[in-house]
Symmetry: C2
Subunit: 165 residues, 2 copies
DNA sequence: CCTTAACTTCACAAAATTCTGAAAGAAGCG
DNA sequence: CGCTTCTTTCAGAATTTTGTGAAGTTAAGG
Protein backbone atom coordinates (compact mmCIF):
# COMPACT_ATOMS: atom_id res chain seq x y z
CA UNK A 1 0.00 0.00 0.00
CA UNK A 2 2.73 2.46 0.93
CA UNK A 3 4.19 3.54 -2.40
CA UNK A 4 7.84 4.43 -2.88
CA UNK A 5 7.59 7.99 -4.12
CA UNK A 6 4.78 9.46 -2.12
CA UNK A 7 2.71 8.43 0.84
CA UNK A 8 -0.86 7.39 0.20
CA UNK A 9 -1.82 8.33 3.74
CA UNK A 10 -4.92 10.37 3.41
CA UNK A 11 -4.45 13.35 5.74
CA UNK A 12 -8.12 13.40 6.53
CA UNK A 13 -8.17 9.74 7.52
CA UNK A 14 -5.17 10.30 9.74
CA UNK A 15 -6.78 13.36 11.26
CA UNK A 16 -9.97 11.47 11.95
CA UNK A 17 -8.09 8.87 13.93
CA UNK A 18 -5.93 11.43 15.71
CA UNK A 19 -8.87 13.48 16.90
CA UNK A 20 -10.92 10.47 17.87
CA UNK A 21 -8.17 8.81 19.86
CA UNK A 22 -7.16 12.11 21.43
CA UNK A 23 -10.73 12.59 22.57
CA UNK A 24 -10.58 9.28 24.44
CA UNK A 25 -7.36 10.30 26.12
CA UNK A 26 -8.89 13.60 27.13
CA UNK A 27 -11.82 11.78 28.62
CA UNK A 28 -9.36 9.78 30.68
CA UNK A 29 -7.85 12.94 32.09
CA UNK A 30 -5.09 14.02 29.72
CA UNK A 31 -5.14 17.74 28.80
CA UNK A 32 -6.35 18.42 25.29
CA UNK A 33 -3.22 19.59 23.51
CA UNK A 34 -0.90 16.92 24.92
CA UNK A 35 -3.49 14.34 23.95
CA UNK A 36 -3.67 15.59 20.36
CA UNK A 37 0.08 15.83 19.98
CA UNK A 38 0.53 12.37 21.38
CA UNK A 39 -2.10 10.88 19.11
CA UNK A 40 -0.48 12.57 16.11
CA UNK A 41 2.86 11.01 16.99
CA UNK A 42 1.28 7.60 17.49
CA UNK A 43 -0.33 7.82 14.06
CA UNK A 44 2.79 9.00 12.26
CA UNK A 45 4.69 6.47 10.21
CA UNK A 46 8.10 7.10 11.70
CA UNK A 47 6.96 7.90 15.22
CA UNK A 48 8.87 11.16 14.93
CA UNK A 49 7.58 14.63 14.11
CA UNK A 50 9.03 18.10 14.26
CA UNK A 51 7.42 20.99 16.04
CA UNK A 52 6.48 22.58 12.73
CA UNK A 53 4.86 19.41 11.45
CA UNK A 54 2.82 19.06 14.61
CA UNK A 55 1.73 22.68 14.51
CA UNK A 56 0.66 22.44 10.90
CA UNK A 57 -1.10 19.11 11.19
CA UNK A 58 -3.04 20.07 14.30
CA UNK A 59 -3.52 23.72 13.39
CA UNK A 60 -2.07 25.02 16.62
CA UNK A 61 0.49 27.67 17.47
CA UNK A 62 4.18 26.96 18.17
CA UNK A 63 3.48 27.94 21.77
CA UNK A 64 0.84 25.27 22.07
CA UNK A 65 3.17 22.66 20.63
CA UNK A 66 5.86 23.70 23.04
CA UNK A 67 3.55 23.44 26.03
CA UNK A 68 2.11 20.09 24.99
CA UNK A 69 5.51 18.60 24.33
CA UNK A 70 6.89 19.78 27.63
CA UNK A 71 3.97 18.10 29.37
CA UNK A 72 4.44 14.83 27.49
CA UNK A 73 8.17 14.80 28.11
CA UNK A 74 7.63 15.32 31.83
CA UNK A 75 5.28 12.35 31.83
CA UNK A 76 7.92 10.39 29.90
CA UNK A 77 5.45 9.73 27.13
CA UNK A 78 7.66 11.17 24.41
CA UNK A 79 11.33 12.00 24.15
CA UNK A 80 12.88 14.99 22.47
CA UNK A 81 15.80 14.71 20.11
CA UNK A 82 17.97 17.38 18.58
CA UNK A 83 18.27 16.79 14.87
CA UNK A 84 22.04 17.05 14.36
CA UNK A 85 23.17 20.09 12.44
CA UNK A 86 19.83 21.83 12.57
CA UNK A 87 17.81 23.96 14.90
CA UNK A 88 14.87 21.62 14.54
CA UNK A 89 13.83 19.54 17.46
CA UNK A 90 12.13 16.22 16.91
CA UNK A 91 9.68 14.48 19.18
CA UNK A 92 9.33 10.75 19.30
CA UNK A 93 7.05 8.11 20.77
CA UNK A 94 9.21 5.21 21.67
CA UNK A 95 7.17 2.05 22.01
CA UNK A 96 8.46 0.63 25.26
CA UNK A 97 9.00 3.96 26.84
CA UNK A 98 5.44 5.02 26.88
CA UNK A 99 3.89 1.78 28.04
CA UNK A 100 6.13 2.09 31.00
CA UNK A 101 5.05 5.68 31.53
CA UNK A 102 1.40 4.62 31.53
CA UNK A 103 1.94 2.13 34.29
CA UNK A 104 4.54 4.18 36.07
CA UNK A 105 2.24 6.20 38.16
CA UNK A 106 4.77 5.22 40.76
CA UNK A 107 5.41 8.74 41.99
CA UNK A 108 1.70 9.31 42.39
CA UNK A 109 1.10 6.02 44.17
CA UNK A 110 4.06 6.68 46.41
CA UNK A 111 2.50 9.91 47.60
CA UNK A 112 -0.82 8.19 48.19
CA UNK A 113 0.96 5.62 50.26
CA UNK A 114 2.73 8.29 52.29
CA UNK A 115 -0.51 10.09 52.99
CA UNK A 116 -2.19 6.84 54.01
CA UNK A 117 0.65 5.81 56.31
CA UNK A 118 0.41 9.17 58.02
CA UNK A 119 -3.34 8.68 58.33
CA UNK A 120 -2.95 5.26 59.94
CA UNK A 121 -0.59 6.73 62.50
CA UNK A 122 -2.50 9.88 63.28
CA UNK A 123 -5.93 8.28 63.44
CA UNK A 124 -4.64 5.25 65.32
CA UNK A 125 -3.85 1.83 63.87
CA UNK A 126 -6.33 0.28 66.30
CA UNK A 127 -9.32 2.37 65.26
CA UNK A 128 -11.81 1.33 62.60
CA UNK A 129 -10.77 4.21 60.36
CA UNK A 130 -7.12 3.37 60.91
CA UNK A 131 -7.74 -0.21 59.93
CA UNK A 132 -9.53 0.88 56.77
CA UNK A 133 -6.63 3.11 55.81
CA UNK A 134 -4.15 0.34 56.56
CA UNK A 135 -5.98 -2.02 54.26
CA UNK A 136 -6.08 0.57 51.53
CA UNK A 137 -2.37 1.08 51.96
CA UNK A 138 -1.82 -2.65 51.68
CA UNK A 139 -3.77 -2.64 48.44
CA UNK A 140 -1.51 -0.06 46.87
CA UNK A 141 1.62 -1.80 48.02
CA UNK A 142 0.26 -4.98 46.51
CA UNK A 143 -0.57 -3.33 43.21
CA UNK A 144 2.80 -1.66 43.01
CA UNK A 145 4.56 -5.02 43.17
CA UNK A 146 2.13 -6.72 40.81
CA UNK A 147 2.43 -4.07 38.15
CA UNK A 148 6.16 -4.60 38.05
CA UNK A 149 5.87 -8.30 37.36
CA UNK A 150 3.07 -7.66 34.92
CA UNK A 151 5.34 -5.43 32.88
CA UNK A 152 7.95 -8.15 32.83
CA UNK A 153 5.39 -10.56 31.46
CA UNK A 154 4.35 -7.98 28.89
CA UNK A 155 7.88 -7.51 27.65
CA UNK A 156 8.24 -11.26 27.21
CA UNK A 157 4.91 -11.59 25.46
CA UNK A 158 5.63 -8.61 23.26
CA UNK A 159 8.94 -9.94 22.11
CA UNK A 160 7.45 -13.29 21.32
CA UNK A 161 4.61 -11.81 19.35
CA UNK A 162 6.19 -8.79 17.69
CA UNK A 163 9.88 -9.48 17.91
CA UNK A 164 12.32 -6.85 19.01
CA UNK A 165 10.87 -3.35 18.50
CA UNK B 1 -8.88 4.04 72.26
CA UNK B 2 -12.39 4.53 70.97
CA UNK B 3 -14.47 5.04 74.10
CA UNK B 4 -18.08 3.96 74.40
CA UNK B 5 -19.73 7.28 75.12
CA UNK B 6 -17.84 9.72 72.97
CA UNK B 7 -15.25 9.52 70.24
CA UNK B 8 -11.73 10.69 71.02
CA UNK B 9 -11.16 11.45 67.36
CA UNK B 10 -9.71 14.90 67.19
CA UNK B 11 -11.60 16.65 64.40
CA UNK B 12 -8.55 18.64 63.47
CA UNK B 13 -6.39 15.56 63.10
CA UNK B 14 -9.03 13.96 60.95
CA UNK B 15 -9.34 17.08 58.86
CA UNK B 16 -5.59 17.26 58.34
CA UNK B 17 -5.56 13.76 56.93
CA UNK B 18 -8.67 14.32 54.85
CA UNK B 19 -7.33 17.44 53.18
CA UNK B 20 -3.89 15.99 52.63
CA UNK B 21 -5.12 12.77 51.08
CA UNK B 22 -7.71 14.61 49.03
CA UNK B 23 -4.96 16.81 47.66
CA UNK B 24 -3.12 13.75 46.40
CA UNK B 25 -6.26 12.47 44.74
CA UNK B 26 -6.81 15.83 43.10
CA UNK B 27 -3.29 15.76 41.78
CA UNK B 28 -4.06 12.39 40.26
CA UNK B 29 -7.00 13.85 38.40
CA UNK B 30 -10.03 13.57 40.67
CA UNK B 31 -12.15 16.75 40.93
CA UNK B 32 -11.73 18.59 44.19
CA UNK B 33 -15.07 18.07 45.92
CA UNK B 34 -15.39 14.37 45.09
CA UNK B 35 -11.85 13.92 46.36
CA UNK B 36 -12.61 15.62 49.66
CA UNK B 37 -15.86 13.76 50.18
CA UNK B 38 -14.20 10.48 49.40
CA UNK B 39 -11.33 11.14 51.78
CA UNK B 40 -13.78 12.09 54.51
CA UNK B 41 -15.61 8.80 54.07
CA UNK B 42 -12.37 6.84 54.09
CA UNK B 43 -11.36 8.51 57.33
CA UNK B 44 -14.70 8.00 59.06
CA UNK B 45 -14.97 5.22 61.58
CA UNK B 46 -18.03 3.56 60.18
CA UNK B 47 -17.35 4.29 56.52
CA UNK B 48 -20.77 5.87 56.35
CA UNK B 49 -21.70 9.55 56.53
CA UNK B 50 -24.85 11.52 55.85
CA UNK B 51 -25.05 14.46 53.54
CA UNK B 52 -25.35 16.83 56.48
CA UNK B 53 -22.30 15.39 58.20
CA UNK B 54 -20.25 15.72 55.06
CA UNK B 55 -21.39 19.28 54.50
CA UNK B 56 -20.57 20.29 58.04
CA UNK B 57 -17.24 18.55 58.23
CA UNK B 58 -16.00 19.90 54.91
CA UNK B 59 -17.74 23.26 55.18
CA UNK B 60 -19.46 22.96 51.85
CA UNK B 61 -23.02 23.53 50.69
CA UNK B 62 -25.59 20.77 50.30
CA UNK B 63 -25.37 21.38 46.57
CA UNK B 64 -21.66 20.63 46.58
CA UNK B 65 -22.22 17.42 48.55
CA UNK B 66 -24.89 16.37 46.11
CA UNK B 67 -22.66 16.96 43.11
CA UNK B 68 -19.66 15.22 44.63
CA UNK B 69 -21.65 12.21 45.69
CA UNK B 70 -23.28 11.85 42.31
CA UNK B 71 -19.83 11.85 40.75
CA UNK B 72 -18.48 9.25 43.16
CA UNK B 73 -21.48 7.02 42.75
CA UNK B 74 -21.13 7.11 38.97
CA UNK B 75 -17.52 6.02 39.37
CA UNK B 76 -18.70 3.27 41.72
CA UNK B 77 -16.45 4.61 44.44
CA UNK B 78 -19.25 4.99 46.98
CA UNK B 79 -22.75 3.64 47.26
CA UNK B 80 -25.81 5.45 48.47
CA UNK B 81 -28.17 3.96 50.96
CA UNK B 82 -31.53 5.12 52.10
CA UNK B 83 -31.68 5.13 55.85
CA UNK B 84 -34.99 3.30 56.44
CA UNK B 85 -37.75 5.49 57.79
CA UNK B 86 -35.95 8.74 57.25
CA UNK B 87 -35.32 11.27 54.55
CA UNK B 88 -31.63 11.09 55.19
CA UNK B 89 -29.43 9.47 52.64
CA UNK B 90 -26.19 7.81 53.68
CA UNK B 91 -23.07 7.40 51.64
CA UNK B 92 -20.66 4.56 52.13
CA UNK B 93 -17.22 3.46 51.02
CA UNK B 94 -17.32 -0.25 50.75
CA UNK B 95 -13.85 -1.72 50.85
CA UNK B 96 -13.92 -4.16 47.96
CA UNK B 97 -16.15 -2.01 45.89
CA UNK B 98 -13.80 0.85 45.48
CA UNK B 99 -10.63 -1.11 44.82
CA UNK B 100 -12.50 -2.65 41.97
CA UNK B 101 -13.61 0.77 40.79
CA UNK B 102 -10.02 1.97 40.77
CA UNK B 103 -8.90 -0.84 38.52
CA UNK B 104 -12.11 -0.97 36.56
CA UNK B 105 -11.22 1.61 34.05
CA UNK B 106 -12.66 -1.10 31.83
CA UNK B 107 -15.07 1.18 30.05
CA UNK B 108 -12.30 3.67 29.37
CA UNK B 109 -9.87 1.05 28.14
CA UNK B 110 -12.57 -0.48 25.99
CA UNK B 111 -13.02 2.80 24.19
CA UNK B 112 -9.28 3.19 23.72
CA UNK B 113 -9.20 -0.24 22.21
CA UNK B 114 -12.05 0.57 19.87
CA UNK B 115 -10.37 3.73 18.69
CA UNK B 116 -7.10 1.87 18.14
CA UNK B 117 -8.75 -0.95 16.22
CA UNK B 118 -10.37 1.58 13.96
CA UNK B 119 -6.99 3.25 13.51
CA UNK B 120 -5.30 0.01 12.51
CA UNK B 121 -7.95 -0.57 9.89
CA UNK B 122 -8.12 2.92 8.48
CA UNK B 123 -4.37 3.52 8.38
CA UNK B 124 -3.66 0.02 7.13
CA UNK B 125 -2.45 -2.93 9.17
CA UNK B 126 0.57 -3.20 6.90
CA UNK B 127 1.83 0.35 7.40
CA UNK B 128 4.35 1.37 10.04
CA UNK B 129 1.77 3.50 11.82
CA UNK B 130 -0.74 0.67 11.65
CA UNK B 131 1.73 -1.72 13.19
CA UNK B 132 2.45 0.70 16.01
CA UNK B 133 -1.25 1.06 16.74
CA UNK B 134 -1.69 -2.71 16.63
CA UNK B 135 1.04 -3.19 19.18
CA UNK B 136 -0.49 -0.57 21.43
CA UNK B 137 -3.81 -2.32 21.13
CA UNK B 138 -2.16 -5.60 22.08
CA UNK B 139 -0.74 -3.93 25.15
CA UNK B 140 -4.12 -2.84 26.38
CA UNK B 141 -5.68 -6.20 25.72
CA UNK B 142 -2.85 -7.76 27.69
CA UNK B 143 -3.26 -5.38 30.60
CA UNK B 144 -6.99 -5.90 30.69
CA UNK B 145 -6.54 -9.63 31.21
CA UNK B 146 -3.71 -9.23 33.69
CA UNK B 147 -5.59 -6.79 35.87
CA UNK B 148 -8.38 -9.29 36.25
CA UNK B 149 -6.10 -12.00 37.55
CA UNK B 150 -4.28 -9.48 39.70
CA UNK B 151 -7.51 -8.60 41.44
CA UNK B 152 -8.15 -12.28 42.08
CA UNK B 153 -4.74 -12.55 43.72
CA UNK B 154 -5.50 -9.43 45.74
CA UNK B 155 -8.73 -10.82 47.07
CA UNK B 156 -6.96 -13.97 48.14
CA UNK B 157 -4.13 -12.07 49.77
CA UNK B 158 -6.52 -9.70 51.44
CA UNK B 159 -8.59 -12.43 52.96
CA UNK B 160 -5.52 -14.17 54.26
CA UNK B 161 -4.12 -11.02 55.79
CA UNK B 162 -7.22 -9.20 56.97
CA UNK B 163 -9.87 -11.85 57.06
CA UNK B 164 -13.31 -11.32 55.62
CA UNK B 165 -14.13 -7.60 55.36
C1' DC C 1 29.86 38.73 15.10
C1' DC C 2 25.66 39.34 12.83
C1' DT C 3 21.70 37.22 10.82
C1' DT C 4 18.25 34.13 10.95
C1' DA C 5 15.67 29.98 12.14
C1' DA C 6 13.65 27.57 15.72
C1' DC C 7 11.87 27.02 20.20
C1' DT C 8 10.32 29.03 24.74
C1' DT C 9 8.30 32.19 27.92
C1' DC C 10 4.96 35.54 29.26
C1' DA C 11 0.76 38.36 29.69
C1' DC C 12 -3.68 38.32 28.55
C1' DA C 13 -8.21 37.06 26.42
C1' DA C 14 -11.40 33.42 25.96
C1' DA C 15 -13.46 29.35 27.49
C1' DA C 16 -14.53 25.88 30.69
C1' DT C 17 -15.15 24.43 35.51
C1' DT C 18 -16.52 24.77 40.05
C1' DC C 19 -19.27 26.09 43.93
C1' DT C 20 -22.95 28.68 45.84
C1' DG C 21 -27.63 30.47 47.09
C1' DA C 22 -32.21 30.04 45.87
C1' DA C 23 -36.00 27.57 44.30
C1' DA C 24 -38.04 23.31 43.21
C1' DG C 25 -38.73 18.44 44.10
C1' DA C 26 -39.42 14.04 46.90
C1' DA C 27 -40.79 11.57 50.95
C1' DG C 28 -41.91 10.76 55.74
C1' DC C 29 -45.33 11.90 59.28
C1' DG C 30 -49.24 13.75 61.38
C1' DC D 1 -53.51 16.24 52.26
C1' DG D 2 -50.47 19.53 53.93
C1' DC D 3 -46.28 20.33 56.83
C1' DT D 4 -41.64 19.50 57.40
C1' DT D 5 -37.16 17.81 56.34
C1' DC D 6 -33.86 16.52 53.28
C1' DT D 7 -31.98 16.40 48.55
C1' DT D 8 -31.51 17.91 43.85
C1' DT D 9 -31.51 21.18 40.14
C1' DC D 10 -30.39 25.56 38.14
C1' DA D 11 -28.55 30.10 37.01
C1' DG D 12 -24.89 32.78 37.80
C1' DA D 13 -20.43 34.57 40.08
C1' DA D 14 -15.77 33.45 40.80
C1' DT D 15 -11.93 30.89 39.87
C1' DT D 16 -9.04 28.16 37.02
C1' DT D 17 -7.38 26.43 32.74
C1' DT D 18 -6.22 26.87 28.06
C1' DG D 19 -4.25 28.73 23.83
C1' DT D 20 -2.58 32.72 21.46
C1' DG D 21 0.36 36.59 19.84
C1' DA D 22 4.38 38.87 20.80
C1' DA D 23 8.67 39.41 22.78
C1' DG D 24 12.73 36.88 24.34
C1' DT D 25 16.32 33.27 24.08
C1' DT D 26 19.39 30.04 21.99
C1' DA D 27 22.26 28.31 18.52
C1' DA D 28 23.45 27.42 13.50
C1' DG D 29 25.57 29.43 9.39
C1' DG D 30 27.65 32.72 6.99
Amino acid sequence: MAEPGGPVRDPETVSRFVEHFAAQLVEAGLPRMPARVFAALLASDTGVLTSAELGEQLKISPAAVSGAVRYLAQQHMVSREREPGSRRERYRVHGDQWYEALTNREAVIRRWEDALREGVTSLGADTPAGRRLAETLAFFEFVEKEVQTMMERWRAYREERFGRG
